[in-house]
């Protein structure tokens, strides 16, 4: 029996392939460089192997810096109706993550939220179709 889509399913079993680490994230990004960023979206790359969302962060002195924030593959999002218009340019995001080890303005987005606190892409407890 197929489970209706729209309900995420919990299973206590860890998939063996979690050990197949795609990525040396800890080499790319620095656990000792946490960042909390707030900025307006300038570009959205919903691509593989990882998505990248570009935001413009305005510092206290008024200078604007563009940050690239790394996320996940968009393939499951596509199946849930996410399109290229789902994150409009100009919308404000809050990003908690870790900065690139080489000190450039890149970060992996541990959590990405809209300014009102909603998580990026999904809100609430169920995935909507």
């Amino acid at each position: 029996m197929r489970i209706a889509t729209g309900i995420l399913i919990a299973v206590g079993l860890v998939l063996a392939a979690a050990a197949e680490a795609h990525h040396a994230f800890a080499t790319e990004f620095d656990a000792d460089r946490p960042v909390a960023l707030r900025g307006k979206v300038t570009k959205v790359e919903l691509i593989n192997p990882h998505s990248w969302i570009h935001i413009e962060v305005v510092g206290e002195d008024g200078t604007a810096t563009t940050w690239m924030i790394e996320g996940g593959s968009p393939n499951a999002l596509v199946r849930r109706g996410i399109t290229r218009d789902s994150i409009p340019v100009g919308v404000e995001l809050i990003v908690n993550g870790y900065q690139a080890r080489d000190g450039t303005n890149r970060a992996v987005g541990r959590d990405m939220l809209f300014a009102d606190g909603r998580p990026l892409f999904f809100e609430g407890t169920q995935v909507s179709e």
Binding site: M1, R2, I3, A4, T5, G6, I7, L8, I9, A10, V11, L15, A16, A17, E20, H22, H23, F25, A26, T27, E28, F29, D30, A31, D32, P34, I47, N48, P49, H50, W52, M68, E70, G71, G72, S73, P74, N75, A76, V78, R79, R80, G97, Y98, A100, R101, D102, R106, V108, G109, R110, D111, M112, P119, L120, F121, F122, G124, Q126, V127
Partner: protein, 332 residues
């Protein structure tokens, strides 16, 4: 060099042919079911679709089950209850901030943290069913020798450039898309496409395998390929696929280029196929091993996985290491 038939002649011919077709015997109807299951328009068993590979059974059998292949009714009820229970999307990080484990994007935000909500009941205690204890046989000593030799060869050079990074970091091949296909971490889905005389199988993050189903044997001298070479045949309602001729570097589960995989796809019900496999590699395991698990149709599409095109990660890994080296040099 346009086709020179006039439109009028084509219409006349089309009408005549249509009339003739109506009286040509043995024209197969659109996909029809026989007692053994749905068929394609040309009469092969219909196994086409997009399938989720997620299953509740673990790859290897937990030791407490011994040689027991199936769950009891009580055990199965518990597994089913967990499988069917909705859970909250976990946007709160459950890893310790400031640790390497926390340096990762949030899988749930991209709907990658679970199995995308599609799966089938599985009464088995494990995916592996051969050998009888449901556990993968121990690797032969030469496997450790190969790995030691490889590590010695590249020691100290792992970050010099891209060439000694993993096949996934290099966007060459994801082991979870190679035959035998086992459930993977995310995007663990495959497409099966059928046309007369061929089946195409492609894992969402993998390469297409175009498999002739005319029962031809594997060629004698196979050119090594990352995905090997596959040939197929129908045995009743089961598609049997043989794959061999892997490159040495593919090393699926540390196997050698002698790896030979047999896969069997059989429709179980309208939503489910049984995916069974056997693995033989005399330079990796002393005995064949294999297993079976259900794959479940998802009414959706696989999306393009252009990996190397978007691989900022490789550049970031290398530049990150260059930065670390500069820091280390400056600190001296």
């Amino acid at each position: 060099m346009k086709h020179s038939m006039t439109r009028l002649n084509r219409s006349i011919l089309a009408v005549a042919v249509a009339g003739a077709l109506a009286s040509v015997a043995a024209l197969p109807a659109a996909a029809q079911s026989s007692d053994s299951g749905p068929r394609t328009a040309w009469g092969d068993p219909d196994i086409a679709g997009v399938y989720a590979q997620y299953t509740t059974a673990p790859l290897e059998r937990p030791e407490q089950f011994g040689e027991r292949e199936f769950l009891t009714d009580e055990e199965f009820a518990e597994v089913e209850n967990r499988r069917l229970t909705a859970r909250e999307l976990n946007f709160e990080s459950d890893t310790e901030p400031g640790t390497a484990a926390d340096v990762h994007y949030n899988l749930d935000q991209f709907a990658l943290g679970a199995n995308e909500g599609v799966s089938s009941p599985n009464r088995r205690t494990s995916i592996v069913t051969l050998p009888a204890n449901g556990r993968i046989p121990a690797a032969l000593p030469q496997v450790a020798e190969r790995r030691t030799a490889n590590q010695a060869r590249t020691r100290g050079r792992e970050y010099d450039g891209p060439e000694f990074r993993s096949l996934t970091e290099r966007c060459i091949v994801w082991s979870s898309t190679l035959p035998p296909i086992l459930p993977g971490g995310y995007n663990s889905n495959m497409q099966i496409f059928q046309s007369p005389g061929y089946v195409m199988i492609q894992g969402e993050m993998g390469d297409p395998r175009v498999i002739p189903t005319d029962g031809r044997a594997l060629p004698e001298n196979l050119l090594p390929q990352w995905n090997g070479t596959s040939v197929g045949r129908w045995e009743g309602d089961t598609l049997v696929v043989e794959t061999a001729g892997f490159r040495r570097e593919t090393a699926w589960r540390n196997s050698s280029e002698k790896l030979h995989v047999t896969e069997k796809f059989t429709r179980v019900d309208e939503d489910t196929l049984d995916y069974a496999f056997t693995v033989v590699d005399p330079e990796t395991w002393a005995e064949p091993w294999g297993g079976v698990y259900p794959i479940t149709e998802m009414e959706n599409v696989l999306f393009e996985y252009a990996c190397t095109e978007g691989n900022y990660g490789m550049a970031n890994i290398l530049s990150g290491e260059r930065a670390r080296e500069r820091e280390a040099a400056a600190g001296q």
